[in-house]
Assembly symmetry: C2
């Protein structure tokens, strides 16, 4: 599939990169990791690989002490096991078929899965996975059991021979509450639900949080954050200390005298659910399948110029590409395959 | 990457499909193709592969008489040539590097590219492509030269030894004009610009249009439509005769007594630029990375139920998946690899 590798296998400078290209500024990425490891060292952070879907990137996190990871898909767990990155992998999500994970457990992989219903619990048992967290709904209308049902579900899991390691509850609806104090108060109320459930469930782990709440969630003992390492324009609106390390490099392929220029990165290069990407040097008017139209009112552009566009949402943007190009200024210093895609 | 194939290589019924899965209802697809081939037979339609990115699907179109195709990326042309599907392939888009296409031209492939500036023309010549269309801007703020500059550009192309086959102009801004008569009038005004340019340019081809304007654009001699074969909920709001053949099959993995259910298809399964996918049996409340939350006020759901969700925009949805599963009711009758992805 990687046709563009035919002509340029090892680009050494940004000018040589095939476009559209996902680019990671190494120095910014390193600063983001350093800020997080200081705030949440070792196992107090369980990086969420759904945000970056790359075992090479995950390896950077493992190297500075984060050895536990969480994932949203079975394919992400399979890829992490295959790459030998981290230990103690959590599927922080429900599915209906755990056989693919049971195979890995038999081979010695340390895998824990989230459980929020009897139906999922039965599938976990049938699939051969042995360790679970009880997934508790803490206000986000998505997965998670009623907090009042968590103890009963834990008892059922133990009765089925499973190890119940604790609870998880994702306060995803609070990630973007703008005011930090208000966000903290709301997170506290959500986490009270999780701690209530934890009293009934037992176990060592209380897992939750994300990039938006890592600094204010004092109630969990591990934070499930992933976006912090690359960031996006939405998270950058919060007062988190992380900076945007990720951009899409694009070529200007057409320029109109009427005041616009067109790049070759569009809807197939960007996750669009949080809105348009951002061009730092002017207005991005709209995206089409393989184009974005930029207003040249402020910054003139010529055919052949290269621009960097900033994604609004990192996770679905990553999932559209095959690799991350790691750069130091104009130099391409590495490439990280995005090898944890699909399901 | 295709981990889910480990356990189920050849599902024969929909129940056995790994989810999330892109599903094509064969009978609807066939009706859509039949309606279009009646309206725009043979070379009067130049199907746009960007909408479906599958050589297997394109082969179905070629089999009923559409042998000319257009594409938005070099990778799409390369894939079509490699699969031997169609002849007379048009890159209906501008790029900066035509060497990969020049290699194919040397090997005998019949490739034409769109040109809208001297810079792109120089790149075409340098890359070894010999046939061009002059790309004319007809109102959509994207690629295309000023209509008044088209003749000069054609002369420059001929002076450089290229064959100028005609013009193209995409009235993409008019695809969704709701009222058919009003749409027709606006298309006529846009196509007058294209025909003016054509008088200056010469050549046999006047190319344009899409699924939204195929029936009202009487001024081009080939229509560049692709979405019509699979459709999406946005195009379905028009009075076109095509029906939605494409859906994403998803599993219900969690159900709350508070009135919602959660499926395993989310932002990484759907192109989101035209908004949320549609659940025909109730409200789809929102999508997260790997989930969509459905309101169960109207239709109750249980863990393990399967639902079909309808994408709002076909092109970027297709680009997120590895294959299309072709079904006839509950039977899986074929799979079409989505082999024209990336750039």
């Amino acid at each position: 599939m990687a046709n563009y590798h035919r002509l340029m296998v090892h680009p050494s400078t940004i000018d040589q990169l095939p476009t559209p290209a996902l680019v990671v500024e190494r120095s910014v990425f390193d600063r983001n990791l350093a800020l997080m490891v200081e705030a949440r060292p070792g196992d107090t952070l369980r990086p969420h690989v759904k945000a970056f879907k790359s075992t090479a990137l995950a390896r950077e996190m493992a190297a500075i002490g984060h050895q536990r990871f969480c994932t949203a898909t079975i394919a992400e767990i399979e890829g992490m096991v295959a790459a030998g990155v981290g230990h103690d992998l959590l599927l922080a999500n429900e599915t209906l078929d755990y056989r693919r994970l049971g195979v890995l457990v038999e081979q010695g992989a340390d895998i824990t899965v989230a459980v929020d219903s009897d139906a999922v619990l039965a599938a976990v048992v049938a699939g051969g996975v042995r360790r679970v967290l009880i997934d508790v709904e803490v206000g986000l209308p998505r997965c998670g059991c009623d907090p009042a049902d968590a103890g009963r579900l834990a008892d059922a899991a133990r009765a089925a021979g499973l190890e119940v390691r604790g609870v998880m509850g994702y306060e995803g609806h609070l990630m973007m509450v703008p005011d930090r104090d208000r966000r903290r108060d709301k997170v506290e109320a959500a986490m009270e639900l999780l701690l209530d459930a934890h009293r009934d469930v037992g176990g060592d782990i209380v897992s939750g949080g994300g990039t938006g709440t890592y600094a204010v969630n004092e109630w969990v003992n591990e934070i499930q954050a992933g976006s912090y390492c690359l960031m996006d324009t939405q998270y950058a609106t919060l007062e988190v200390p992380f900076e945007i390390a990720l951009s899409v490099l694009a070529d200007v392929v057409s320029v109109s005298a009427k005041g616009w220029a067109v790049t070759n990165a569009g809807l197939k290069s960007f996750g669009m659910d949080h809105g348009n990407p951002t061009w730092p040097d002017g207005e991005l008017r709209f995206c089409s399948d393989e184009h974005s139209t930029l207003s040249t009112d402020v910054t003139p552009l010529r055919v052949g110029d290269r621009v960097r566009l900033l994604p609004a949402h990192v996770d679905p943007t990553i999932a559209k590409h095959e690799r991350l190009w790691v750069v130091d200024g104009d130099h391409v210093i590495d490439q990280w395959p995005i090898d944890l895609r699909y399901w």
